[in-house]
């Protein structure tokens, strides 16, 4: 963020002047970015895990129900 932004007092001003400064963070970049990256990965896993578990279960049960229905139709002689 450039000079203009800094002049307007009260506006949020980004601390780092360049992408390079943001990435390296005066030598601490590797630590900060590692911590944030891992946190995001763990959060994504914690959210997607149960979502996928629920979806997989519903699909499995739906297939089972369909199979049972077909077997029932065959034994009743009503299969088209």
């Amino acid at each position: 963020m450039g000079e203009k932004a800094r002049q307007r007092s009260g506006d949020p001003v980004m601390y780092f002047d360049s992408l390079h400064a943001l990435l390296t963070m005066e030598g601490h970049g590797v630590y900060v970015w590692t911590a944030y990256l891992l946190t995001i990965v763990v959060i994504a896993a914690a959210l997607l895990g149960p979502l996928r578990r629920r979806k997989r279960f519903l699909l499995q049960l739906a297939a089972e129900l369909k199979r049972a229905q077909r077997a029932h139709d065959v034994s009743a002689g009503t299969e088209p």
Binding site: P12, V13, M14, Y15, F16, L22, M25, E26, G27, H28, G29, Y31, V32, T34, A35, Y36, L38, T39, V42, I43, A45, A46, L47, G49, P50, L51, R53, R54, F57, L58, L59, L61, A62, A63, L65, K66
Partner: protein
């Protein structure tokens, strides 16, 4: 009032209401997390003593705070299951364990990565860090113990007892930085008295703590919903849900 508790014990009602809550809470949580992370990483000034490494505080402290709060929730749900045999409390306890483990892991990992540039070491066996590691093992212990039983009712009871006994660890974690000499700094935010942290750092930290609480709630509800379906697989409402699903 009582009708609310009756509903709370009803799986289809819990499944439906958690779906409604998640539809609002999940997007809000992700937004708050994104804003809080960007605020902490991009817009705050570095700490005058620690430099930029302190930016890890915005995930480390919220994860640790919520990991502890999650343990209370898990232990209380376990107690409710033991005393009143409430099945939904058992579902909540089982759902809380892996989420708590994930949050504790985040706190420990970010602490190690923060410790390297600040203390010069990834890990020390001091009171705060060791008691947090025990918290992780307690959470993982509940997850493992649940899987070890074929009888789910017995599993719920055993896990409830384990999590209640593990409560001993909680005051130790809180007080560890005061009771023992430690590398870990004492708390900067206090409910009573002045916080020893500048407000420009405090606000994003508070936002992140709120966001992590919301995130824990989302993860807990998602786990509970998956668990509810599996437990109620034979009931009419789950079959109805499944029959509405398109199979390939």
């Amino acid at each position: 009032m009582w009708s609310f508790f009756h509903k709370l014990g009803s799986p289809p009602w819990l499944y439906a209401i958690s779906g409604v809550i998640l539809r609002w809470l999940l997007p809000l949580t992700l937004l708050a997390l994104a804003v809080g992370m960007a605020w902490g990483v991009l817009f705050t000034s570095p700490d005058f003593r620690q430099g930029n490494s302190y930016r890890i505080i915005y995930i480390h402290v919220p994860a640790a705070v919520v990991a502890l709060a999650g343990y209370y929730l898990m232990a209380i749900a376990g107690a409710i299951n033991l005393i009143w045999r409430m099945k939904m409390a058992d579902v909540a306890m089982k759902a809380a364990a892996p989420v708590g483990a994930a949050f504790t892991f985040i706190a420990l990992f970010t602490g190690a990565v923060w410790g390297k540039p600040t203390w010069g070491t990834w890990w020390v066996w001091d009171a705060r860090i060791t008691s947090m590691l025990i918290l992780l093992f307690l959470y993982l212990g509940v997850v493992a113990l649940y899987e070890a039983f074929d009888n789910k009712e017995a599993a719920g009871k055993a896990c409830a007892v384990l999590s209640l006994v593990g409560m001993v660890n909680i005051p130790i974690i809180y007080k560890s930085v005061d009771w023992w000499y430690s590398l870990h700094q004492p708390a900067s935010i206090k409910f009573t008295g002045d916080s020893t942290i500048d407000s420009s750092m405090l606000y994003p930290l508070q936002l992140m703590i709120a966001a992590f609480y919301a995130l824990f709630t989302c993860c807990l509800l998602l786990n509970m919903r998956a668990e509810l379906l599996q437990r109620e697989a034979r009931s009419q409402w789950v079959r109805k849900l499944a029959s509405a699903v398109e199979t390939p």
